[in-house]
Symmetry: C2
Subunit: 752 residues, 2 copies
Amino acid sequence: MLKPYPFLLLAAGLLANRLTAQTAPPADKPLLGFSPATAATEYQLESKFDTQLKADNLRQWMKRLAAHPHHVGSAYDKANAEFMASLFKSWGYATRIDVSYVLFPTPKLRKLELVAPTAFTASLTEKPVPEDATSGQTSEQLPTYNCFSKDGDVTAELVFVNQGIPKDYEELARRGIDVKGKIVIAKYGGSWRGIKPKVAAEMGAIGCLIYSDPKDDGYAQGDVYPKGPFKPETGAQRGSVLDMPTYPGDPLTPGYGSTKNAKRLDYRTAPTLTQIPVLPISYADALPLLSALAGPMAPPDWRGALPISYHLGPGPAKVHLQLEFNWKTEPVYNVIATLRGKELPDEWILRGNHHDAWVNGASDPLSGMVAELEEARALGELVKTGWQPRRTIMFCAWDGEEPGLLGSTEWAETNAKDLQKHVVAYLNTDNSDRGFLGVAGSHTLEKFFNQVARDVPDPEKPMSILERRRASDLVNGSAEVQKDARERADLRIGALGAGSDYSPYIQHLGIPSMNVGFGGEGAGGEYHSIFDSFDDFTRFKDPTFAYGVALAQTMGRCVLRLADADVLPFEFQNLSNTVAKYGTEVKKLTDDMRTETERQAKLLAEKRYEAVSNPDQPLLAPKAQAPVPQLNFAPLDAALQKLAQSAQAYEQARQNPLPADRQKALDQLLYQAEQQLLSTEGLPRRPWYRHQLYAPGFYTGYGVKTMPGIREAIEERKWAEADEQIQRTAAAINRFAGQVNQAAATATPKVL
Amino acid sequence: MLKPYPFLLLAAGLLANRLTAQTAPPADKPLLGFSPATAATEYQLESKFDTQLKADNLRQWMKRLAAHPHHVGSAYDKANAEFMASLFKSWGYATRIDVSYVLFPTPKLRKLELVAPTAFTASLTEKPVPEDATSGQTSEQLPTYNCFSKDGDVTAELVFVNQGIPKDYEELARRGIDVKGKIVIAKYGGSWRGIKPKVAAEMGAIGCLIYSDPKDDGYAQGDVYPKGPFKPETGAQRGSVLDMPTYPGDPLTPGYGSTKNAKRLDYRTAPTLTQIPVLPISYADALPLLSALAGPMAPPDWRGALPISYHLGPGPAKVHLQLEFNWKTEPVYNVIATLRGKELPDEWILRGNHHDAWVNGASDPLSGMVAELEEARALGELVKTGWQPRRTIMFCAWDGEEPGLLGSTEWAETNAKDLQKHVVAYLNTDNSDRGFLGVAGSHTLEKFFNQVARDVPDPEKPMSILERRRASDLVNGSAEVQKDARERADLRIGALGAGSDYSPYIQHLGIPSMNVGFGGEGAGGEYHSIFDSFDDFTRFKDPTFAYGVALAQTMGRCVLRLADADVLPFEFQNLSNTVAKYGTEVKKLTDDMRTETERQAKLLAEKRYEAVSNPDQPLLAPKAQAPVPQLNFAPLDAALQKLAQSAQAYEQARQNPLPADRQKALDQLLYQAEQQLLSTEGLPRRPWYRHQLYAPGFYTGYGVKTMPGIREAIEERKWAEADEQIQRTAAAINRFAGQVNQAAATATPKVL
């Protein structure tokens, strides 16, 4: 489900698998959680693991799993689950398929017409290309649609709203344009797609179209498929519009598992469905609609790459949008394969990727899924040589991720208690191609992951994947990123927002999580279209599967080290450093808003906006904003200080040799520390999200908001709430620091 | 010739003439150069002047002068000169037409073909539109061409070079692309057009095409003509490519007047002609050429609004470009109308605008020309009421500006000695439309001009043109501009680069000059095309001529105040403030280049560029740069300090009542001070440019470079030259400060 990495837009091609040219890391490097002796053993194990990995396995499995469309409810979705279960079994895993029953609407009727000033009927059809073997499987393909749009039949004037995020509507208001009773057309981009109909409905629109502008996702990016990897004119992006920033998973079972007989809401009243009908369209279908708009020109940065003058409307373009869906309940098949730990079987390492797709899904999700399969197979081979993990390892293949993290969320909600009790960490991948390491996750695992990335060779360059990423930060990063890359020993990993199956684990259950992938050299326009195929992937994404193998090496090391460490390799000073940065950011955000609010108030009082407004194209003054008060950040500052001290205390304590009888207690304190960052009330207006440090933005969707309670209250100018949330976040950090101090005490030998 | 103001891109339309709604400024405001008593008289005179101004005169004259194409050498060009001369005569001016004889090439043959991979022949023809009365005068129109391109007949592979400025070629080099032996195609924009073939030739290209991309100048900006004001697909921008940054004027008579029998260079060896053939084309003609390019994608910010993937080439597109010109000598007719001063006839105020156009030239240049005519007529009316100026006023209508400031430059060179002896200031206008005041000039006149702008009402808003400009600076300006607008009493006027007839006066002769116009609400794509017509202007630019009248009010006040002031209204503290800012800028430029050079050297040493390069689309490391040394800015700092002191000394001195016997001496010291800023050697590699504070950029053309000797040496990393130029500029500032001190002494009553 994850969008491809945006930081570089380059097409990929063939390259030699250079893995053999790589050299293993010196075995004498220190390893967090291991003694020098156990580290040496671990390194030997990892070398054996590497030698097992075969790019051709990834290729064969992708070809098999992507051979037919395999969305939720399709025959091939079930077949893939059973095929993977049989593989896990054959490798010696205790394997089961856990089934949940979820709402999964599919299109019954889709109609989009321009009814004025001229007539045009949108094709709503992606055109297969002969160069792509599976693109013609039309009878098995889901039509282009946005899943969890409500039914609707609306006719109204059209308004172009750029990306359809809140600030776009402020620009429209300054041009005297109101979308009440109108149908809006928004570009993809700038937010997760589900935000667009949500905000449009809040603004009073009665329908929403989302199109892919060729500037962002088409010929302006490069040659289109099949000549190049970019979106052809009939390509359209399917995708969920479930209000996941409120809660993901089955909309009918909020916060609990959608087991066979679970109590369910009526879908007509389910809070996470859209309030208005919404449909994704291609730029071929968007062109006649946008061309028919009049009214003011769109602001320069709103204009796309279609050969037209982008006007805002409303009208004279008038459109008719009619949507009806089959509101069916479907089974989702989560494959769970377990390798029991020898010494600490009650400590579980979870490794997951989803297997369902919108169509054939070679890149999304199979590029990550086949790496996970190869990791599992390689571990199976190690077991044959006599190795057994100290802790329990569970490989998961989730179903129903695309419609809204359905499989992973329902499984997490069903097994919440056990998971919070046993799970050490959740390690996620999803679509991945070529180029540069991308990683986000719990900062308690940052140092641990840096050691992993340090030890994995890059397939293209004679260096580790960590060093290649550092080079990218130094050459292409912002000033802040460059500074980090120069001055910081460890790569600062990102924070988790939304977009894949880690969300329920970290944000709802407080389980330390990571998400990893490669990107930047495999950009294209296949995302959620019939062109995300084996042919496309092997032509443009990762043709040799060299980065697929690198991903297996990376995630395999994560699993092995977490499973076999003497003490779990958590570290808190990096976290403390990053959380302090969040604190600085929210203060600066407040100060910057105050300065800008004062500047604007002055300009308003002086009537400067009227003075510059062009009589022929009036631009109204922005709405006056109340002054930004001083917030009380003292509780946060105190908590951050306590956090820093506790992190240092544990850093000292963990230098000591640990008595065997305290290892288990210490492990538990460490992996459950993150749960202290949850608040029982959860975030304002979305209690499902309980983590006080990480959440997807309520108005951005994918994009993470760190310290979300505080940050979003400030962004939305809810000053009283901001002060409350400062308290609540400070309390969570204090609880966390308290547990870190306990861990430090536990790790410190008693003085007699 | 000036490009329309880019700071706002809005189409204009009809609006009521609100002049009557405006109120005159309180007559008690102090007036630089006047006593309270004489100021009162001056204000009365200016009110009488205002009442004379009639928008309908501007309209009728524009209609008459734009009725036919009137480029150099055309019958209508001569007819317009004679018509205006007759007008000036009828208003009581001693009027003459001064003729120079200049090289003016026109197309004999233009051929542009795509010869591979497919065949296409460019139309090179602008399509007339029925809604535009003069656009169909095809037999009288000059074809689309770049004047002073050399003849040529070349066939080669095509390379897309973005805007064709030096940094674009650095990007190409990083992609392994060399233009040696190739034909380049560049977008308009980013520099004056003449820079593009100049740089292309330096890089080894053998031909150059310049096209108007619809992103900058076409449908992406708004509806195209005649529905809207923007460039239709066949529109092309004519224009000179004479190497004016080396020297403007007749290329055959560098530095001296091109009188009938002047010694002339052979045009084949004239240094300011292009080294390679160059032709401007429409986006309709560019589309097939750009579509036929392969090779790497152009960098994202190079891509335009054509519905294609912008590739760089070279090839497979191969083009044949053949150009032949008639290398004729033509007369240019400068109209000079004089109103002799009563008291100080040897002090001349020059007011000018050009009258030649590329085609019908309603906006460029007639919008400014008709304002000047109305100013002259109104003064004539004042004379009838018994008024006579203290100083001599000369109205000039220049010919041959479009091909390269030919008329004004040759006249300035012919009369150099007299002009340096007598001219107080040169006041220029050119194309002007609607919206916001734009002004650049000698900063010795900044405070003077602010007082003028303070007293002219804006036609659209109930405030002065100065206050409306301040509002624009506050709402839309950069942080620096906003700060100035808040904290500075006076609007900081711009510095003069190139682009209109002030260039020889300020940059070659050191005569204080100003250039003034309105813009921001009349944007369009008519520039230098057959669509710059009376119909276009009255539909989209300044339909009621309200801003034309405002321009007449502004320039009329400049003329009247300079002509009648007790003492010439020069002021030096504003200049000192701005020149100090230039000093800070060139230091910061050096420091920033040093930091970036060090950063890059480090990345090169660490091989970071190789590390991030995509094997499928290699991006080579940038060329290593020698370290940036420390420059000795001490002489400049000392000179700036001396300047500040002299400015303050004059400020104090001018408070004293001035004995009548010293007025003339003081005037002369004041208006000739600017000549102290000239260096006898001129700028490196272009001795014609002698001003040490202002020059057009050698590699930007229009864009001014302040402290050009220093700044360009730094930009081009000529460190020894930079140190020399610091000395030379410091010396000029010291000479200037010396003369300001003399003025101060002269203005100070002798103590007995």
